[in-house]
Structure formats: C-alpha cells, structure tokens
Amino acid sequence: MRNIFLFIRRYFHFLLFIVLQILCVYFIVSYSHYHKAAFGNFSNQMTGDINRQYNKVEQYFHLKKSNDSLIIANERLYNLLRENYELPDSLPRTEVDTIIIDSLRQYRSITYLNAKVVSNSVSTQNNFLVLYRGRKAGLREGMGVVDPSRNVVGIITELTDEYAVVMSLLHKDSRISGKLLKGGYTGTLIWDGKLPNLVTLTNIPKSAKPAVGDSVITSGFSTTFPKGLLIGRVEGVYTDPSSNYYKVKLHTAANFYNLQYVYAIDNKHQEAVNQILDKLKKQQ
C-alpha cells in the first residue's frame, strides 16, 4: 500500500497528464451522448450569448449579400402566388357536386421557421452553426435547416431554450441521403473535411451515369427534409476502385461562407414517424 502511494506521489504529474488526456479522448469519442446532457446546455447558453453580441456588429457586413438572396427567394415565391394562375372557364356548365368530403382541401404538413445565424464556421473539421432560435420558438432536435433559397444546410443537433446548434453538411458525422435528379439513384452525402462547399455523394452504383452539372436533391426518405430540396451540383465523378460504386463530388448549392438567415423545417409527421421507428427498434 505504501508503495502505491509512493508511486502516485512520484509520478503525480505524469498520472495527471494521462488522466486529463484520457478525459479529453473520452469527450471526443462519446461526444454525442455526453454532449447533450452536460456540456450542451451550459456552454451553448454561454457561447450563444457571446456570439449574439458579436453578430450584432458582424451582420452589417453581410447585409448586401443577404438582401440579394432574399430578393431571389421573394421572386420565386411571387411566382408561386395563386393570383398568377387562372382557373379554366367553367361557368357555362352547371354541375351538381355530390361529394360530401372536400377532397381538394389541403392540409399543411410542413412549416418553415426562420432563424438568425449568430455563429458559423467552415474552417474546422467539424462545423456547426448556432441559431438564435431555440426550443421556445418551436424548434426540435432532428429538424432540417435550409438557406433562404431552400438549399440544404444541415440538421439541428442540440437545443437550449433560446439557441439551436446545427450540424452543417460540413461535418464528419453528417449523413444526409441525396438523390441524383436524373435517374433517381440515391446515395449518402459525406464530407471529407477538406474544402468547404465540396461534399461527396457515395454509394452511387456504376449503372448510374452522373454527369458534371447534374443536380442532387434530397431524397425525402427521412422526415428531416421534404423531397426535392437542392443539395448541390455534380462537380466531378470518380470511380472507387475498392467497390462497385461511384464517388460523386458535389458543389453545395448553399454558400456556407455567407449564411445570415436560415429556415428550419418543421415536419408535422416527424414525431409520428419517429415513434413508429422507435417501436420497431425495440421489437428487434
């Protein structure tokens, strides 16, 4: 026993060093579990407040660019207005409607919630955005996030009452399923950690013929993103010699260098679908 104490006293600094290093590696590896519980709430609140103050100044430098993107988004929305369309002239005919249930009535399944970006990074290996909108504003974990032109940006991973942290496409753990608009082949989007605005679509079979410039859209297989949102355009196609798949490099449609406002996608079916999936997992 005495020898143990002597040993500890003698190598105290080395042992402390090892303990701290193990602690750090533990944080890194078990990030997703630990993070949400303890680290998340406190540090997100702290850094969120500081980031918001900083953003009050910084946003002026981006006003021109965010105005431009809002004008483009507005133009698209104006073109969708109902008053732009005309109904066919059906006056001369009289018909008695016998359907009791109005099958033409639509109901809403998706709502867009706007949020201000207070912090954004592209230069590290794991990039996050911080939004000044949180649980109070109706944001939930697992919601998809798009830029003003509805190009995919990322997924909400953490929440406090006032802030939300978004894992952007430029994160090594980000896995979003994408689909080639031409041909309809689906694959998984990953980021190799090098160039921002350049992501890789994997698992595209050789039978697909992706060409440079093709659009890649969200597949709609998950409830995170509705089908058909633009992710990016093909920049190059590479064969992976070790497998039977193509690696497709994409230039992202969203410009990650300049995100000022984003929209979170609230899918009304998300909770119900997740419940069923959880139930299935438990049964297995």
Binding site: L16, C24, H35, F39, N44, T47, S121, S123, T124, P196
Partner: protein, 177 residues
C-alpha cells in the same frame, strides 16, 4: 497589476481574438491560424505543474465550447502544458536563470533563437496532436502533415508578431530565490 488579474485578462482577450478574429480568417483550408495557446507559453516559470495542466485544460475546453465539440483543443493544450517545464529546463541559459524573470519571453529565455525554439516546438506539438485527433476519422497522411506544418508556420509568425507588438516589460528580479 497582479499576476492573477493579468492572466485572467489575457485568457479572455486571447479567447476573443481566437474565436472572433482568427477563426474568421479563411486563408486556405490547409491553414488554421492559432494563437490562443500563447497563454500557456506565457504562464510564469515557477507555476505548479499540476496547476499548469489544469489551466491548459480549462483554456482548451473553453475554445472547444465555441467549437461545440469538447476534447480536441483541451487535449492539445494539456500536452504542451505537460511538455513545457522540460523544455524550459532544457533551454534556460544557466541553472536558476528562470528565477531572474517572471515568465518566458525573448529576454528571459536568453535571446530570440531559444525563444523561437521554445514557441516553435510547443506549437508544432500542439498542432500535431490536435490535427492527429481530428484526422482520426479522415485518415489522410499527406493532408495531415502539410496542414500541421503550414499551420505551425503561421502560428510562429503570429507569436512573433504578438511578441514584438505587445512588448511585455519584465522586471529583472534578483537571482537569489
């Protein structure tokens, strides 16, 4: 200004500069400018080694808080805090010379070359360990090597610029302990 207040101010200022100035500069994807760890380089000579490591851990952990992924910078900072006393012993011109001055600087390390070696080796270690932990998942040796070397070069430049811009006036204390 007392040592404690001075270091607290340094901590906050360096963290703000790192997060809101250096992290916003996108030179190239290969280069990430880091300066915040100069805080560890500037801590007093006579500081307890355990305290040194704990302070480094807190420093790294704070930056990790802004990056939303705990562990990476804390690990790198703890490593250089552990190595620092060995390096100081190795580089100090004569025995006991570290008691002449309060903290490491060009003046107290006995010239530009030893100080550059001190700062350069510690920033190389910091970057190597940091990018190694980050590259774990990516696994591209050349990318990792080039990024480490380039970022170290930029860090040394930043440290030198900081040294010359903000000269720290240090009193020569008696060489009796």
């Amino acid at each position: 200004m007392s040592n404690l207040v001075k270091n607290i101010v340094r901590f906050i200022l360096l963290m703000l500069v790192q997060v809101y100035v250096l992290d916003k500069i996108q030179l190239h994807q290969m280069v990430t400018p880091y300066l915040y760890f100069i805080f560890i380089l500037w801590l007093p000579f006579h500081m307890n080694r355990a305290l040194l490591m704990l302070l480094a851990f807190i420093l790294g952990f704070t930056l990790d808080g802004f990056r939303h992924h705990p562990g990476f910078h804390a690990a790198a900072c703890v490593l250089i805090a552990y190595i620092r006393p060995f390096l100081v012993n190795l580089l100090i011109p004569q025995e006991g010379a570290e008691t002449n001055y309060e903290e490491p600087s060009i003046q107290s390390m006995g010239g530009l070359v030893p100080y550059l070696f001190y700062a350069g080796l510690l920033s190389l270690l910091h970057h190597t360990w940091l990018f190694l932990l980050e590259a774990w998942q990516f696994g591209d040796a050349w990318y990792f090597l080039v990024k480490t070397l380039l970022s170290t070069a930029i860090s040394i430049l930043l440290i030198l610029a900081t040294e010359f811009l903000f000269s720290r006036k240090q009193k020569f204390r008696t060489n009796t302990i």
